[in-house]
Amino acid sequence: MKRTLFLILTLALLLASCAAPVKRTDTVFAMDTVMELTVYGDEALLEDARDVITDMESRLSVTLEGSEINALNSHGSAALSPDTVKLLEGALELCALTGGALDITVYPLVRAWGFTTGEYRVPGEDEIAGLLERVDYNAVALGDGEARLPEGAMVDLGAVAKGYLDDAIAGLWREEGVKSGLLNLGGSVYALGGKPDGSAWRVGVRDPFGSGYLGVIEARDVAVVTSGGYERYFEQDGRTYWHILDPKTGFPADSGLSSVTVVGQEGLLCDGLSTALFVMGLDAATELWRGRTDFDLVLVTSGGEVYITDGLESVFSLSGSYKDKEVKVIRRG
């Protein structure tokens, strides 16, 4: 009798200390950024995630010789693996949805401005006009596992790849039974489930005008992606030029927004839209949001006003020096 009791209690003690999955973290340098992986579970989960990252980088990198996208850009056509086709299709849909505010063929211009190398320069008007002729996502022909580009055109999936990678890793982890994980792929975040204690993951939205964050989103099973001009920029003759270009003008987007954060279930959508809505501005972003139900927004204007869409009302809060500011809530009505 007492032996049984002893055994049961010992077992209970053991179980109480072992039941919680172990927190595993890893840092990966890939796709020109740093990726922080957090997962509660086995070490093998991190390995699986690293495999997905390596595979995707080897297919999608613009600069890596032998990648599918590199081949497409250098030869004007290339055979694509089914997964790359899927991403390209998704990206082209987002280009259409945003009326070209996101354009995956803007790469020749990004290169001319030096944002790919860090050797920044302001291209001349003629040069920009010439390069703009090559920018048109409609000219990307996709079919039978092959893509074709017109002469001089180039594709860069950088504006959507990290969001797509969020989806791929989160999907894999879900299949493997993960209940709690957090991906931060160079500012493209995916919260899988909540934290093991049941609370939501707290994702800070960076203050575009200084260091630190202006507010916190309580995230659970959503992607959170921010685009802002402060991420990569240079100054010349007293003017600031940032890396998000308006595909229609070839110049840095100047829509009156300082940062756009998109929250939604699909990382690809959030990633692509954060760039596009930064280009489109407050009014056009609001209008696009009203026609959809699959994402929500935090918009910060260049004057420092903070707008959120009503789906975030219960999960967004200001912090730090923004605490006493007013949050303007955009509603559907």
Partner: protein, 123 residues
């Protein structure tokens, strides 16, 4: 029967003590601020910033380049680096564990351990 009762009491007391101890270990405030310096994802060095009394410099040299790290009581930053973009230097002082200092060209990351008010930062 009385013996069994004694056993149960002893075990229950042990159980309560064990739970109390684990709660204490989990919930106690972090003892000071520890900065961790990673190169290419590997932990290179740990610095207890609460133990720093005078400004201290050290260099992290890798095959990719050199970062000079400056520690002051309770805080840390990259003072200079021979990387092309200087993003790590422009970052300034490290504030919390959710947004680490990153020198992408040198694959260097400096982060604070312990609980931050947020788990990740976007932007």
């Amino acid at each position: 029967m009385a013996k069994t009762g004694t056993w149960v009491t002893i075990i229950l007391v042990l159980l309560v003590l064990a739970i109390a101890a684990s709660l204490f270990l989990r919930l106690r405030p972090a003892g000071g601020t520890i900065a961790e310096i990673y190169v290419d994802g590997r932990l290179e060095r740990r610095v207890d910033l609460s133990g720093v009394t005078v400004p201290t410099r050290f260099t992290v040299e890798t095959e990719r380049g050199v970062n000079v790290i400056l520690c002051e009581p309770g805080r840390i930053r990259v003072e200079s680096a021979d990387c092309p973009d200087k993003v790590c230097v422009d970052f300034g002082w490290l504030q919390d564990s959710a947004a680490p200092i990153v020198c992408l060209p040198h694959r260097l990351v400096i982060k604070l351990t312990g609980d931050a008010p947020i788990d990740a930062e976007v932007g």
